[in-house]
Symmetry: C2
Subunit: 252 residues, 2 copies
C-alpha cells in the first residue's frame, strides 16, 4: 500500500484524489490545501488540513498547485529526505526544495472539472533523481491504470510545449473553422466526423504520412480561392502560415 | 432502385463504388473512366467503359474527377436533362454543363486509399437546383448510411475551407508537435491520447468553451519559456500567431 499525501485542490489534485480512491494499492492518507473550504466536501473520507505543520508521514507527497507556488510550498514542508513530486509539465524538478527527494509526476492530458477522468487515457511522464523513486512513481501511475513514461529534464518541457500545439492550437484551429462555418450559417456539426478522423489517423500513421489537401499538392488555384473567401485578416494570416508550413514540410 | 453511373476512378469514386455495392437500394449500372486500366479489376461485377458515347441511362451520373476536369467531362456527355452531380467541395455547381440537371454530392471526409471507409462517419453536403433532385441525392446518401445536409452555394466552399483548417492545418500542428518531441528523443505516442481527447471534447462543447492553456490564461511566463524552447523560426512564427489568435478570441 503506497501512502500518499495530496497538496492542492485544483483540477489535477481533485482528479488524482478520485483516481487514487478507486485504486486498491494506494491510500490517500491526507489532503492539504491552504484553503480548507475547497476540500471540505471530502472530510468524511480523508483527513484534511490547511497547516503544513500537521502533515503526516507518507511514501510520497504530491504537490498539485500552480507552478509559481511550488518552490515556496515545498520549502515550507517541515521534513526532509522524503519523496515530494509536483505534477507540472513546465516547472523544473529543482523547483522543489533540495532538502527533499524530488520528482515529477506529470499527467499529460486535458482535464475538465465536470467530467470524471478515464485514467487509462492519461499518460504519466515521470522524472526523478533516484531510481527507487522512479519505481515507486511508476507503480503509482500503474495503480491508476495509466501508461507511464520515463522522461528527462529536456523532454518534459518539450512534451509540454508539444501538448500546447496539439491541444490549444488545434482547438483554436477548430474555433476558426467554427467561425468560418457560422458566418455562412453552415453547421459546425458537419465538420465533427472529420475532426475525429483526423485525430484517429495519426494514432496509426505519422502526421507526415497522414497529410493531404491543397497545400501538400501545392494546388495554387484552390489556395487562391480559399484566400479570397477569407475576409478576416487574422484567419488569412493563419491560413497563409500553415499553408507555407505544409508546403515546406512536403518539399514545395 | 436508384440507377447510378459513376465517372472517375480516384479515391472518392472507388470508395463510393464500394459503398453503393453494399447498399440494397442502389445499383451501379456502369463505371466510366477515360483510362480503363484503373477500373479493370471491377469488370466482372459492373459494366465498364472509357467512351462517354457508350454511357447508358441512369437516374444519376456521379462525376468524381479532379475539379478542373468537371466542366469538360460534363459538356461531352451525349445527353441532356438528366441529373449529373459532382463530388467536389470547391468546384461550382455551374461547372456542370447547363444542358443537364445539376447537383453536388460532396462527402466531407478524408479518404485513405488503403482503408475501407465507414460511411456512417461521412457527412454528405447536397446542393441542387431542383427539389426533386435533392430528394434523390438525400436518399442516395442515406442508402450509404451517411448523414446528409442541404447546403447552399456559399456554405459548401466555406465548409471546404473549414475542412482544410480542421484536417490539413490540424495535421500540420500534429506534425510540428512530432518534430518538437522527436528533437528531444521523446515519444510522440505520449501525445496521442491528448490528440484524441482534444478532438473528442469539441464533439460535445464548442471549441470556444473547450479552450484552456497558457494563451487563454495570458500566462506570459509560460509563453516566454515556450518561445525560448523553439529554435525553429517557422515553428516560432506559428506559436506566436496561434497564441495571439487565442488571446484575441478570449479577450486579452
Amino acid at each position: 500500500m503506497i501512502k500518499i499525501v495530496l497538496l492542492g485542490a485544483g483540477n489535477v489534485a481533485t482528479h488524482l484524489y478520485k483516481g487514487f480512491k478507486k485504486a486498491n494499492t494506494v491510500n490517500v492518507v491526507q489532503w492539504y490545501n491552504r484553503n480548507l473550504k475547497s476540500i471540505e466536501t471530502y472530510k468524511n473520507e480523508v483527513k484534511i488540513t490547511d497547516n503544513v505543520n500537521n502533515l503526516i508521514e507518507a511514501d510520497v507527497y504530491i504537490i498539485a498547485v500552480n507552478d509559481d507556488a511550488i518552490p515556496e510550498l515545498s520549502s515550507t514542508l517541515p521534513f526532509e529526505n522524503r519523496l515530494v513530486v509536483h505534477t507540472s509539465g513546465s516547472a523544473r524538478l529543482y523547483d522543489i526544495d533540495q532538502k527533499l527527494y524530488r520528482g515529477v509526476f506529470y499527467p499529460l492530458q486535458t482535464f475538465s472539472k465536470a467530467v470524471d477522468l478515464d485514467f487509462t487515457t492519461v499518460p504519466i511522464c515521470i522524472e526523478t533523481l533516484r531510481k527507487k523513486d522512479f519505481k515507486l512513481l511508476e507503480t503509482l501511475g500503474q495503480s491508476l491504470g495509466c501508461v507511464t513514461y520515463k522522461v528527462n529534464p529536456k523532454q518534459r518541457p518539450a512534451l509540454h510545449l508539444a501538448a500546447v500545439f496539439v491541444n490549444n492550437f488545434t482547438n483554436q484551429i477548430y474555433r476558426i473553422a467554427h467561425e468560418i462555418t457560422e458566418k455562412q450559417g453552415a453547421e459546425f456539426d458537419i465538420l465533427k466526423p472529420l475532426i475525429t478522423e483526423t485525430a484517429r489517423k495519426v494514432q496509426e500513421v505519422s502526421p507526415y504520412i497522414a497529410q493531404t489537401g491543397p497545400a501538400k499538392r501545392n494546388d495554387k488555384k484552390t489556395i487562391k480561392r480559399h484566400l479570397k473567401l477569407l475576409d478576416n485578416p487574422d484567419q488569412e494570416a493563419i491560413y497563409k502560415l500553415m499553408t507555407e508550413s505544409i508546403k515546406k514540410t512536403h518539399g514545395h
